[in-house]
Point group: C2
DNA sequence: CTGAAAGCGCTAACAA
DNA sequence: TTGTTAGCGCTTTCAG
């Protein structure tokens, strides 16, 4: 393994010159630069990351802290990762994914204090997230994908849930739906302060109110069974519902399954919109789901770019919201009631 | 940030003593150790990872090289990750996930040459995988989750596909099925030499032959639409099929959807077994899928443990296969034909 | 525009 | 059982 000394010797320059060629921290004449570059190429030189890190006090590693529960990463989260990785790589940084959740704050504290990370991007941020304090105490710059409750002085990129819910509701109301049920995450998740669950809930209430409609909301466990149970509960509470807005990607297939079991055709009898969903997942269903498509890789990219700007010394916080885009597929259509009014020959109530 | 010197001064010992307390590389008297530990605690000392790495030439980082396509990680892959992370953490190593696929060999070569990784675990190994050579050339010990075509001198942990397919086929044959269709990954994936696709294909042919049955095999794109198309093709080729064995987790919902569309009830008319599937995914379907459950986190754990053993100097290769476990749920039942023979009043052909 | 040299914080001989 | 010290390979003053 060639070292910088080897390169310097071969190029007949000093080690510092080699270093400056590498870092660009001071001007080097073209002739010298060429000599050095040639020597590097000949020796297949690669700078030692540890030595660089020790001397410069910057590891050129940024962490992507990503809780991993047993359910795995959905396509949405994966898009964050690929976007972040691309941005880091483009800037000459390594992006390491670390499966540290809100629970492993001690692990994180250790990682941060060991000066292994120049900065970190946090995913799956909770309203109260111990990781934020741990990193701040360790002096590690950070950017959130998501938001804590108090974002003062914090940089974040997040989905604009208010806007996203509003668009989804507008879409359904525009189709004539008035009895719209919102299926959220589980009650426990909401109680734990999971941002997306809380924000979409509030946004749904507001959006429905704007249309003079009463919000109907049902929590659902993150599973197909949870979706089934939620739909059953929804029908008990609002037998005349014509549309379901689902925030819960894990429950959505249960909802669809239960609708099918009960003989409610989608979208003829019930329209379904899935929130914050990737096209891949939306296409899994039949008919494909009308969905609010998450900004995906853009979120990851923007987060890393903001973080790198902080590392370069920019002190201002970066706070940005991106809405999901409505993509109409086959799971939404005119409300049954609306059709009844405009089409006297409209189909009757669903068969069971 | 306290350094080792600070600790040494406070504890009134030399830096090397502090270092040895940390590494355990030579015996330290209890009294001295206690003094040092107390000083560390008081200063909230954390060793600088870069300095350790430079001096010891070991980063204490192992990489988990994990291609990330846009589809995301399934629960199965996630289990590998959590198992690996737990094992690394238990041994005092950091496990960094790096989204380097078989394509980014240059990225990997750089990463490896920079001496940032003590070793690596590769996921999603291809039959010909450039990453293996890149790491070997860089002198980075590695363990595969999966297998290359030639595994001479290579350590790996993999699923025992032969055994897994055999058990699945035996289960179906035991239920009286004789017309069994195997839905694999796409033709392109098979052609590219994706191990699981190739091995399960061969194993299916062998297992069917052992029962004196003809293998029927259909490739499927990794999507719901691919699954639908595959089932359509399967029915064209074998209209009398009574069971589907699906290797493709992305296609499975398309297969189920198409069965439903055609009025084939599961498992009354057609039994379905999903291969290498996590319980979470299996439960998404209704009825829940009978599946071959992957060993999950055990694979990740064993891989990391083998890697760490290599890092400690063990020269022997570790090659191990783990079978998936059959978990019978609701998607398999007696073959329609078998039922017809034993139950004259059995249901007729499926309605469309 | 280039070179010399002092560290960065730690490990691991070598000495005692 | 402990201390002394020479690096690890690089960055970055300080000089020229």
């Amino acid at each position: 393994m060639a070292t910088m000394h080897d390169v310097a010797r071969l190029a007949r320059v000093s080690v510092s010159t080699v270093s400056y060629v590498l870092t660009g921290a001071r001007p080097i004449s073209q002739a010298t630069r060429d000599k050095v570059l040639a020597a590097m190429a000949e020796l297949d030189y690669q700078p030692n990351a540890m030595a660089r890190g020790l001397a410069s006090r910057r590891s050129r590693i940024v962490g992507l802290l990503m809780p991993m529960d047993e359910r795995g990463l959905g396509a949405t989260e994966t898009a964050f990762v690929t976007g972040a990785a691309a941005a880091a790589s483009a800037a000459g940084y390594h992006l390491v994914l670390s499966p540290v959740g809100a629970g492993d704050v001690d692990d994180l504290r250790r990682l941060a204090s060991q000066r292994m990370l120049d900065g970190a991007v946090l995913m799956e941020v909770q309203v109260e997230d111990g990781r934020v304090a741990a990193l701040q105490e360790a002096g590690v710059p950070l950017v959130l994908i998501g938001r804590t409750g108090d974002t003062t002085g914090l940089s974040y990129v997040d989905i604009d849930f208010e806007q996203t819910v509003r668009e989804a509701v507008d879409h359904l109301v525009g189709l004539g739906h008035r009895r719209i049920v919102y299926v959220n995450h589980s009650a426990a998740t909401i109680a734990a302060g999971y941002g997306p669950a809380v924000r979409t809930r509030d946004a749904f209430v507001a959006a429905m109110a704007d249309h003079g409609l009463a919000p109907i909301m049902i929590p659902a466990e993150d599973s197909a069974a949870g979706g089934r149970a939620a739909l059953t509960a929804a029908l008990a509470q609002a037998p005349d519902l014509t549309a379901v807005l689902a925030m819960n990607e894990n429950a959505i297939f249960g909802i669809l399954g239960e609708l099918a079991t009960r003989g409610h055709a989608v979208p003829r009898d019930v329209s379904v919109v899935s929130m914050v969903t990737s096209p891949q997942v939306a296409e899994l269903a039949h008919p494909a789901l009308t969905a609010m498509t998450s900004p995906g890789s853009a979120l990851g990219r923007i987060a890393v770019e903001a973080l790198l700007r902080h590392l370069e010394g920019a002190g201002d916080t970066h706070q940005q919201l991106l809405p999901c885009a409505l993509e109409v597929r086959g799971s939404t259509g005119p409300a049954a009631g609306a059709r009844d009014r405009t089409d006297p020959a409209g189909s009757g109530p669903p068969v069971t």
